[in-house]
C-alpha cells in the first residue's frame, strides 16, 4: 500500500476509534440528522450557537463506515479548534475537505467523507433560518435545475 494512503487510513481509523466531540449535546439549539444507517452511514450533529453568528459547542453521534464517522470527527475538531463562525462553516469547500481527510484513502467515497460536513452545514442553515433576525447570512443558492 502506498505510504500516503497508509498514513491517511491510520489517521481515519484513529478518529474512528477515538471520535472527538462524540456525545449528545443536551442543550443544543439544533439537532440535525444526516445520511442513512442503511447506506454508508448516519450522523446526528448537535449545534449550540453563540453570539453574533459564532458557534459555542458542537458534538455528534453516529454509526456507519470508517470514512463517514472519522471525517465527521475531523470536521468538528477543525471547526472548534479554529473557532469558525457559522458563515465560515457554510463557506467550507467539500473538495478541500476531502483533500484534508485524505483523497487516496477516500477514493470514490467522497459522499461518505463529506457526510459530517454537509450535516453540519444543514444544522447551521437550520439555525439561521429559525433565527433570521439574528443572522445576516443569506440562504445559500440552491440548484433547482
Amino acid at each position: 500500500m502506498p505510504p500516503a494512503r497508509q498514513a491517511q487510513i491510520a489517521a481515519l481509523v484513529e478518529h474512528y476509534q477515538n471520535p472527538r466531540h462524540w456525545s449528545v449535546l443536551e442543550d443544543a439549539d439544533v439537532t440535525m440528522p444526516g445520511g442513512s444507517p442503511e447506506c454508508g452511514g448516519s450522523v446526528v450533529v448537535y449545534l449550540k450557537a453563540g453570539e453574533e453568528g459564532r458557534i459555542d459547542a458542537l458534538s455528534f453521534t453516529g454509526e456507519g463506515d470508517i470514512i463517514s464517522q472519522a471525517a465527521t470527527s475531523i470536521i468538528l475538531e477543525q471547526v472548534l479548534n479554529e473557532g469558525l463562525a457559522m458563515d465560515e462553516v457554510l463557506a467550507l469547500d467539500y473538495e478541500t475537505f476531502v483533500d484534508r481527510v485524505g483523497r487516496e484513502a477516500v477514493g470514490s467515497r467522497t459522499r461518505n467523507a463529506t457526510l459530517g460536513l454537509s450535516t453540519l452545514k444543514s444544522a447551521v442553515r437550520k439555525y439561521q433560518k429559525d433565527n433570521l433576525h439574528a443572522s445576516s447570512a443569506a440562504e445559500p443558492a440552491r440548484s433547482c435545475g
Binding site: 500500500m1 487510513i9 481515519l12 481509523v13 444526516g34 445520511g35 442513512s36 442503511e38 447506506c39 454508508g40 456507519g64 463506515d65 470508517i66 470514512i67 484513502a105 477514493g107 470514490s108 467515497r109 459522499r111 463529506t114 457526510l115 454537509s118 450535516t119 452545514k121 444543514s122
Partner: protein, 287 residues
C-alpha cells in the same frame, strides 16, 4: 456438505460455506476468497488471509454510464485477481454479507456461477477470533476468457418492472419501512442520490433485507425464511419475483435468499430501483 449449513434446510445449501470451511481452504488454489464491503477501508485494516478485495464502486461499476462493467473489463478484473472460470469464489463482507451478495450477483451476470457465500460474513470470522492480515495477496495473472454478459435472467430493467406490474407480478421492496412509506427520501445535499418522489411500487411487499439474517450474521433457516417471505409477504415457490431497493444492492441480498436458499427459479433484481423509479415521469407510486 457441511452439517451446519445442511441442517438449515436450504434448497441450494451448496451456495453457502461456513467460516470453518473457509479456514480450511485458505491456500486452496482452486478457491479464491473475495471480500466485498460497504465500509471500503475494512479490507485494508484486516482481512482473511489470501482474500482479494472487490470494490463494488470502483471494480464493478462502469465509470461513466449507470451500468456494470463490460465483459472485457470483467475478464481483465478476473485476470488481475488470478481467477479462472473454474475457480470457486467464496464471497464475504460486512453488513450481513450485503455487499458480498451484490458482488456475487454482478458476477452472475457474466456467467461465473461457481460461487459461494461465507455464512455469517466478516463479523462471524472476527468474532470467532480467526486469523486476519493486512497482507495483500498476489496471485499469478490468469487469462480469463471474455464472457458473454446475460442480464435477462437475473436483472430487471424499468420496462420489465412495468410489464411485471401489469401482470400483477409479485414485488419485494427490501428498503426500510421509512423509505417504503415515503417518509425518507435522501440527504439534502445529495439530491442526485435520492428521488423526487417517495413511496413504493404499487403492490410491493415490504420485507427489509436484513430480516433474512440472525443476530450473528448467519442466514436464518429455510423454515424461518419461508415464514417471512411466504407467510408474511405472500410469495409462493414458482413465482416470478422482482426485488428492489434504492440502487439494487440491498435487494441483491434478498435475490440471493430467494434464489439459492429458498430455490425460487425466477427472481430478478431491479438495480435501477427507487433512484430510477422515484424519479421517472408517470411511474405509478403507492404510499
Amino acid at each position: 456438505m457441511e452439517q451446519e449449513i445442511e441442517q438449515k434446510g436450504y434448497v441450494h445449501p451448496e451456495a453457502l460455506v461456513t467460516t470453518e470451511w473457509v479456514a480450511g481452504h485458505l491456500d486452496d488454489p482452486d478457491v479464491r476468497i473475495v471480500e466485498s464491503d460497504e465500509d471500503v477501508l475494512l479490507y485494508d485494516i484486516g482481512h482473511i488471509p489470501n482474500a482479494v478485495k472487490i470494490d463494488w464502486v470502483e471494480d464493478l461499476n462502469d465509470p461513466l454510464v449507470r451500468d456494470y462493467l463490460d465483459p472485457e473489463h470483467f475478464a481483465q478484473l478476473m485476470g488481475e485477481k488470478g481467477i479462472t472460470p473454474d475457480t470457486t469464489l467464496v464471497f464475504y463482507g460486512d453488513k450481513n454479507n450485503w455487499w458480498a451478495t451484490y458482488a456475487l450477483w454482478v458476477f452472475q451476470l457474466f456467467g461465473h456461477d461457481n460461487v459461494r457465500v461465507m455464512d455469517g460474513g466478516r463479523i462471524k470470522w472476527e468474532q470467532e477470533g480467526r486469523e486476519m492480515t493486512q497482507e495483500v495477496p498476489s496471485f499469478p495473472r490468469t487469462d480469463y476468457p471474455v464472457p458473454q454478459r446475460d442480464d435477462s435472467k437475473i436483472r430487471a430493467f424499468k420496462e420489465d418492472v412495468m410489464e411485471h406490474l401489469e401482470k400483477r407480478g409479485p414485488l419485494v421492496d427490501v428498503r426500510s419501512p421509512g423509505e417504503y412509506s415515503g417518509e425518507l427520501l435522501h440527504m439534502p445535499d445529495y439530491p442526485q442520490e435520492g428521488a423526487l418522489r417517495g413511496g413504493h411500487i404499487p403492490g410491493a411487499a415490504n420485507v427489509p433485507w436484513a430480516r433474512a439474517v440472525r443476530e450473528d450474521g448467519t442466514f436464518k433457516s429455510s423454515d424461518e425464511l419461508r415464514e417471512i417471505y411466504e407467510g408474511e409477504a405472500g410469495l409462493s415457490e414458482g413465482d416470478d419475483v422482482v426485488a428492489y431497493c434504492r440502487i439494487g444492492e440491498r435487494s441483491s441480498h434478498t435475490w440471493f435468499v430467494l434464489k439459492y436458499l429458498l430455490g425460487y427459479d425466477k427472481v430478478r433484481n431491479y438495480d435501477g430501483s427507487w433512484t430510477e423509479w422515484g424519479n421517472a415521469v408517470r411511474a405509478p407510486i403507492e404510499r
